[in-house]
Amino acid sequence: MSFEVMKDIFIKNWPFFLRGAGITLWISIIGTIIGAIIGLLVGVVRTTPIPESGAKRTVLKVSDRLLDMYIGFFRGTPMMVQAMVIYYGVASQFGVEINRIYAAIFIVSINTGAYMAEIVRGGINSVDKGQFEAAHAIGMNHVTTMKEIILPQVIRNILPATGNEFVVNIKDTSMLSVISVTELFFQTRSIAGSTFRFYEPFLITSFIYLIMTLTVTKILRMFEDRLAGSKTYDMVEETME
């Protein structure tokens, strides 16, 4: 290899690299956000205390079982295989061709959701029991307790893990090339095919992945610091009343 070849390939193909990187980033951002929302909802349902009797008990028991199956399936099979099953499955069974990008976002979201559900469950279980008791003691019901008191703490605690999922998603979208999503890995393979060079294009691409993941990590770290709040507080000398 030579630096000249690499430069030449990049200059001739940069719009493809850029578009690929854009699609990779787009799928992973949307997928992580939707996945995090799925994870929060599933995590909240799975940590809802099951009453001793009544219809609510049956509903919760059934939904717990179904959600266990969802998490088990998506954590237990490779995303690449899921992509093939879902994309070609829908195409062959229902005769509809789904937009590849939507399919990609769907697969990443539902995958991230399965992982995030476990992270959220751990996050909720690790909140001090006293927080629940104090909320119940002032008359909050379960939903208000979760919304006002518990989830803000959970979100703060799971932020590092969510960032981790985001980084994993940036890298793992490369697997979606199996359903011909034109993300970065797919684009690089096309460039490699047309230039008959593999080493240089993929070296360029590895740098692009690295830049994306490092930037995301940095941004999330700043966000975490902001959520932690300021280290000081102002004393109030005179209060209105």
Partner: protein
């Protein structure tokens, strides 16, 4: 005398372990009742049963003529009438001091923000924490946290205040500031039920003292009766250890 809370034949057990055995207990309006006893006697469990943080296995809890253990009763509504102060403060971590005192008013009592803030500030003034409204719980000392927790409970304008060993997690120097606030409160005529190991304090502020032992109320009476002339052997034994 009007009984605010009237408990009859209350039972609570965890599996084989009977923690409360047939408890009869009441508190009159405006009364300050202290519950004393050694660890494991069931006094905290009794207090936690009163606001249903622990679900009793039997008996009844009558509040304003209604048995709150009846399944038709709205437990959350009932709890708004009882203010609870915990041993470990349990301030809401992600909220600042002011928000800790307003969140219940706004989200549960459905009060407006301004009104809630006014009530919160009034109560924070009572406990001497009005200057710290912007601070977060992690930035406060134990005594300060507990005073905010008292203001939070007061801000719901409850009928009864429940204190579950409110000074047990504090260092000796800050116990005083919390006890002072509680003493002031007791004078205002609010109804208080207090589980405590602070015998001097219980003797000073209580109208009635209850000594619990092994899941039953062994003896009850005025502070003079309990502390100066205990009748039961167990009471004498317990007090000897504490007042020595």
């Amino acid at each position: 005398m009007e009984k605010i809370i009237d408990i009859n034949h209350l039972k609570k057990s965890y599996g084989e372990n009977e923690v409360l055995k047939d408890i009869d207990f009441y508190v009159n309006k405006g009364e300050v009742v202290s519950i004393i006893g050694s660890s494991g006697s069931g006094k905290s469990t009794l207090l936690r049963c009163i606001n249903l943080l622990e679900r009793p296995n039997g008996g009844e809890i009558i509040y304003r003529g209604e048995n709150v253990l009846n399944s038709r009763q709205d437990i959350n509504k009932y709890r708004t009438h009882l203010g609870m102060v915990f041993q470990n403060f349990n301030l809401f971590n992600t909220l600042n001091v002011l928000e800790n005192c307003t969140v219940g008013q706004i989200k549960v009592l459905k009060k407006g923000k301004e009104e809630a803030k006014e009530i919160a500030l009034h109560n924070l003034k009572i406990v001497g924490m009005e200057k710290y409204i912007n601070a977060r719980p992690e930035q406060l000392s134990g005594g300060q946290k507990q005073r905010v927790a008292i203001a939070r409970a007061l801000s719901m304008e409850p009928d009864v205040l429940l204190f579950d060993e409110p000074t047990s997690a504090l260092d000796p120097e800050t116990i005083g500031e919390v006890l002072k606030v509680m003493k002031e409160l007791a004078k205002t005529g609010i109804t208080m039920i207090l589980v405590t190991h602070e015998m001097e304090f219980a003797r000073d502020v209580s109208d009635r003292v209850i000594f619990m032992d092994n899941g039953v109320i062994r003896e009850e009476g005025t502070p003079e009766q309990i502390f100066n002339n205990p009748k039961e052997e167990r009471t004498k034994e317990f007090l000897k250890r504490f007042l020595a």
